[in-house]
Amino acid sequence: MTGEQLLLLLPLIIVTATAVITMLGVAIKRNHAVSCLLTATGLFLALLSLIIVAQYPAQEVTPLLLVDSFNEFFTALILLAALAITLFSYPYLCNLEDHQDEFYLLIAIATLGALVMVGSTHFITAFLGMETLSVCLYGMVAYPLHRESTAQYPMEASIKYLVLSAVSSGFVLFGVALLYAQTGTLHFSDISVGITQGIANGPGAEYFIVASLLVITGFAFKLSLVPFHLWTPDVYEGAPLPATAFLATIGKIAMAALLMRFMSISGVLDSAAITHVLAVMAVLSIIGGNLLALLQSNLKRLLSYSSIAHMGYLVIALITIDSAMGGANESLGSEAVSFYLTAYVIMSLGAFGVMMVVSDSGHERDHIGHYQGLFWRDPWLALVFTAMLLSLAGIPLTIGFIGKFYVFAAGVQGAEWGLLAAMVIGSGIGLFYYLRIVYRMITPLDHDDPLPVAGIRDVIPHGILLLLLAALIIPGVVPGALMTLLQSVVQAL
């Protein structure tokens, strides 16, 4: 390994160092503020180091990791999201009557896992990243274990996540083993050679299809696509809000980026069987997620079902990744996936951010009734929340609309009319529950339910909300710059 390659791994190294330093800091003297500050600084430095990394052309650092613009973009997105969640966590955890510091440790290590996932072109790193992320998430979900009155069932949620996550890892491993048995390699591009030959040459075709489907099933668990979604609402509801936000944003970005990389390199989409399976999962996720979200009055559960639906939209674009048509639109599908992911991260982070600002570890405001009359009690928070919900619903002036437009464009290009019809129906149903929240926020409250007074330590979370609002509206009105960036990012695939 040369010095240059080490330099390319700088973000990973810095995040690892952050975890170690935070741990040492805790060993010397526990201080909540210092731990939070150390983690945030580390993540920020990692983000800065990307400026150096971006100077170099794309190259493989060992066969395990590929540092290209795709990796750099998603690394930046993950680090930004992790930074925001770290800073949101501080006021949330302040009144936890337990040690708070380890939570930041878990955030740093989980982020590391996610970063490994987006850089991997090899099943070893992909699996290591997935497990690092998941193991930390078990801890984060169960974090407020010793409290009674906090998030309702952290232990139950954690066990549920642990068991199902292990099952999904099992699926992935089985699929990988089958692929390895056939090709003798774990590298995506070598597998791709095997897959194309296998599909072309007839007899081995089923074998590859089954193997790829097992891998995709495992990934679908993590993305919580129907019918592998059953854990999602319970885990979202049971986990403390920062953990939920982490799971809903970074968990999804890392997994979706990995899936995108795997699909575009390995060429599994050449097989009609696999596209059909994905299409069925997309339709089920869109319809099922949206319908079930209608029934929820707990916002965490509601957002979990809505995330299922959004992952369904994402899969539509994912299916069209390789329906290349040459010219400027070769990469329309990948661009659509990347854009939608970016949009999804901004809007879910914003929605969970508002919830984190009005909640603390002693009292989570996750019921729709807690937000009644918010428009008149705290217009600023209500404005942010409304903007995020409207973006999730895909209304113009927001990034969510452009994201949906991109997916529509990709779908039309791939002539996926059935999937687009499902998306229209799903978006129509989605309006009901997003607008129901907006309607509750504008309905005056008849009793008194004082919101936590924004103190000095809430300045940073409110500042992040402002940034998220800007990140929601600016690309929603002038999306050109982000589109150009993503176009160059996905060229790397």
Binding site: N329, I425, F432
Partner: protein, 511 residues
């Protein structure tokens, strides 16, 4: 730049109105009024600048501007104003002023946010009437939805949550279908010309083969027909209108419905000439059913605002009929109906709102004989009802007559059956006048059953007649209707170049 300024004034005016509430609760309406007056000045300037020259044949576009926006998809900020757009802008800004007048005393709760929503809706509408890039068009199409939703959901009447949601879901889902249709066109432009384009003029060159063209055209038709609204898609409208505050009803009936009709004239037919020609008999049948069925439903209502809402659907049937006749009479008739209906329905909704403000009910069964107590208001109601039923000499007559004339050339049967709608219109209009304004005096506040003499000084028993400001609003609208009825040439001449252009470009396709 003038169009951009117009839109910016409304956006910024809305934001200022919201901000000014912090200083004084009477400032928002003043800010909104100033913004509206400025927009009116802009629009009038646009008329005066262009019109003497425009009557001579030549370029139909008075304003045509283009800036780059989203290069990735070939999307431009392209706006244009021709005679058709300009008439729609005049209507929008004029009714915007009326809506502020209607809200002036009615909206006392959270006025800042109300005027913010009002102006942003209008900004969206102005954008819809001027956008010539289909993406930009769709963008504004959606921008006007959220503020309208909030107007109904916050300041609406008893069943507002249901009505607002229904309004939003209907328009949004049909909007998504429209978006897919737009995407298909842009994509086929890519296939045929090697790049994405949402440009109105470039998309007219896209050639789609038979069945596919019909499907894409249907996408546009559903999007616009829901907003119009046409017969099977109209069910959101009575709820939204009856639950919205008066200013909201004025905007909905006067302006928002017209965006659907405008979309049909500007996009749905010219972009798909063959499919539209094949579809015309179906569309005209839908129009006829809408005219008759909703006239019948109107007659069955007891809620005065619901009644006016159903008459709106019925009258918009004439617009649909005229558009799909696709000859100069039909198109001009559709346009005149849009303008005249904008004024009459707004005035009627304002009168209904006035009655509700005075008697706290919209139930016609609970009011009668108001003429004695409210002579001016009753006279106005009579005037606008008569206008709505199509009395010669007023704008609605010209519109409906021309629509029928055009339709008769294209489809005899449809025109003959649709003409029955005029008779139904007189039935329900006169019935309302008779029930509410004639007969023995009776209001919910003044029950004759209990037999006791009402106290003389009770203000509820002596409802105030129209104030001077109200009178001014109604007179302005009445004047407009008389102008349209007596000298429609002003409006027909403004729209003529556009209509001829649209007809000429498709002349060889349609009979």
């Amino acid at each position: 730049m003038i169009v951009v300024w117009l839109i910016l004034i409304l956006f910024v005016g809305g934001a200022l109105a919201w901000a000014s509430e912090a200083l004084d609760s009477r400032l928002p309406r003043l800010t909104a009024l100033i913004a509206m007056v400025f927009s009116l000045i802009f629009v009038v300037m646009l008329c005066l600048d262009n019109f003497p020259d425009q009557l001579s044949p030549g370029g139909q576009w008075l304003v045509l501007e283009k800036w780059s926006w989203i290069a990735r998809f070939g999307i431009f900020l392209q706006v244009g104003v021709d005679g058709l757009s300009l008439l729609m802008l005049v209507l929008t800004v004029f009714l915007g002023l009326m809506a502020i007048g209607a809200a002036w005393h009615e909206i006392t709760e959270r006025p800042g946010f109300f005027y913010f929503n009002l102006l942003w809706t209008l900004a969206g509408v102005v954008g819809v009437f001027t956008a010539l890039d289909l993406f930009l068009f769709f963008f504004f199409w959606e921008v006007m939805l959220i503020p309208m939703y909030l107007i109904i959901a916050i300041w609406g009447h008893e069943n507002r949550a249901y009505a607002a949601m229904k309004f939003f879901v209907f328009t949004q889902v049909s909007g998504l279908i429209l978006l897919i249709a737009i995407m298909c066109l842009a994509y086929f432009h890519f296939v045929q010309f090697g790049r994405f384009s949402f440009d109105y003029f470039e998309l007219q060159n896209v050639v789609l083969e038979g069945r596919f063209q019909m499907l894409v055209m249907l996408g546009f038709f559903i999007g616009f027909a829901t907003k119009l609204p046409a017969f099977p898609l109209h069910s959101w409208l009575p709820d939204a209108h009856s639950q919205a505050p008066t200013a909201g009803s004025v905007l909905l009936a006067g302006v928002l419905l017209k965006t659907g009709a405008y979309g049909l004239i500007r996009f749905a037919v010219p972009l798909f000439p063959e499919a539209a020609a094949d579809f015309a008999p179906v569309a005209m049948t839908i129009a006829v059913i809408g005219i008759l069925y909703c006239a019948k439903l109107a007659f069955a209502q007891t809620d005065i605002k619901r009644l006016i809402a159903y008459t709106s659907v019925s009258h918009m049937g004439f617009v649909l009929l005229g558009v799909y006749a696709w000859n100069i009479y039909g198109l001009q008739g559709a346009l005149m109906t849009m303008l005249a209906h904008g004024l009459t329905s707004s005035a009627l909704f304002m009168l209904a709102g006035g009655l509700q403000h005075r008697f706290h009910t919209r139930d016609m069964g609970k009011m009668s004989g108001l003429w004695a107590q409210l002579p001016m208001m009753s006279a106005m109601a009579l005037f606008f009802s008569i206008a709505a039923l199509g009395m010669p000499g007023l704008g609605n007559f010209i519109g409906e007559f021309l629509s029928l004339l055009g339709a008769f050339q294209a489809n005899h049967a449809a025109a003959i059956v649709a003409a029955l709608g005029l008779i139904f219109a007189s039935v329900y209009s006169l019935w309302v006048i008779q029930r509410v304004f004639h007969g023995p005096y009776h209001t919910p506040n003044h029950s004759t059953d209990c037999g006791s003499e009402p106290a003389r000084d009770d203000p509820h028993n002596h409802p105030t007649d129209l104030s001077r400001a109200e009178l001014l609003c109604y007179s302005a609208m009445a004047l407009g209707l008389v102008w349209m009825g007596m000298y429609p040439q002003t409006f027909l001449a403004m729209a003529e170049p556009t209509m001829s252009y649209l007809l000429a470009s498709l002349g060889e396709v349609l009979p």
